[in-house]
């Protein structure tokens, strides 16, 4: 399974990643970073499409794609 990592101290809680995720597996976590912004969390099967990272204005997301997952990403 592919996965994403949030660099939580970069996050500004804008939720554009939540809106962009085609699998709908991102959500606000209820936790806050040192800047005072609510950070996001992921729950579910990530396809590694990197839509969230492309839309993140603060480059707070890194995407790791599993070799077994084929297809749907560029």
């Amino acid at each position: 399974m592919s996965r994403i990592v949030f660099l939580e101290e970069r996050c500004k809680g804008c939720r554009l990643c939540v809106d962009a995720c085609p699998a709908g597996i991102l959500r606000p976590s209820g936790r806050f970073n040192r800047q005072g912004y609510e950070v996001m969390e992921t729950d579910g099967a990530c396809t590694g499409c990197a839509s969230c990272a492309v839309m993140c204005p603060d480059t707070a997301i890194r995407v790791f794609k599993s070799a077994k997952a084929k297809g749907d990403a560029s």
């Binding site: 592919s2 996965r3 990592v5 660099l7 939580e8 101290e9 970069r10 500004k12 809680g13 804008c14 939720r15 554009l16 939540v18 809106d19 962009a20 800047q35 912004y37 590694g48 990197a50 839509s51 990272a53 492309v54 839309m55 993140c56 204005p57 603060d58 480059t59 997301i61 890194r62 995407v63 790791f64 794609k65 599993s66 070799a67 077994k68 990403a73 560029s74």
Partner: protein
């Protein structure tokens, strides 16, 4: 080693498919949550990284929210007076013809106070690239009306909404640039969706390709969101770009002499 450090390394069968490059500084930006400047910065940095020209690139920063652009790129930079980035870039490029020079300007900077300098630099065919961020307001100073403000849009200086008879209509700079003989490349794309962001990157690449090929002035306009001054949340601001801005500012490449 913290938990985050460990998970930032690819595990057994994994590949890192999204990472930032060395041209983009790691510093956290001063922009508001949901501001598209961050996406535009990433696109420009990726193009400079792909072209391998970052070490001979000179950025001319403008005035506005993008005034601190020089903090976010690992390239040499000059700060220009308000609106004069294209004039400063003209001097930089003529003095150092071996470099790649680009300006990064907002609509208040390039389309208002600096429209004279910008159009004349374009008309002279200066071999520079202008990245133009169009978010329909003056962002840094508190959401005043810009030349690109949409008709009917309420800002702090157009309380009743912009009207055609009183304030005129929004300036479509990409189309104006495409009319000028010295311009080699003019395009407009948006940063509101994954598809549009990927298209926008191709346009930024096209603009830098035109400069490096020595074809003339290259211009790329990026429709961006300003959630703070639009009084919208970032997701609603993206919808406004799609529903309100793109019909007024059509997307596409308006001129590309490399293709002709």
């Amino acid at each position: 080693m913290s938990r985050t450090d460990k998970c930032l390394r690819p595990q057994n069968d994994e590949k890192l498919v999204f990472d930032v490059n060395s041209v983009l500084n790691e510093r956290v930006t001063h922009y508001c949550p949901g501001c598209h400047h961050g996406i535009a910065h990433r696109l420009v940095s990726e193009v400079l990284h792909e072209l391998g020209v970052a070490d001979k690139t000179i950025l001319v920063a403008s005035v506005g929210c993008a005034a601190f652009t020089y903090d976010y790129f690992n390239v040499d930079s000059v700060e220009a007076p308000h609106g004069r980035a294209c004039a400063v870039a003209t001097g930089v490029r003529r003095a150092r013809p071996d470099t790649v020079v680009f300006t990064y300007q907002g609509d208040g900077d390039m389309a208002a106070i600096g429209i004279g300098e910008s159009l004349h630099a374009a008309n002279r065919g200066e071999k520079i690239t202008a990245v133009f961020i169009n978010n329909t307001v003056y962002g840094m100073t508190g959401g005043q009306m810009a030349p690109t403000t949409l008709l009917g849009q309420k800002t702090t200086t157009s309380k009743q909404g912009r009207s055609l008879s009183n304030e005129g209509g929004p300036i479509r700079l990409a189309e104006i640039m495409a009319q000028l003989q010295g311009v080699a490349y003019s395009a407009r794309y948006a940063l509101d969706s994954v598809k549009h962001v990927r298209e926008a990157k191709k346009a930024v690449r096209g603009a830098f390709d035109a400069q490096i090929a020595g074809l003339g002035f290259s211009f790329v306009e990026l429709l961006s969101g300003c959630p703070t001054n639009w009084n919208l949340d970032p997701v609603a601001a993206n919808k406004r770009i799609a529903n309100d801005m793109i019909p007024v500012f059509p997307l596409g490449v308006f001129k590309d002499v490399a293709d002709e």
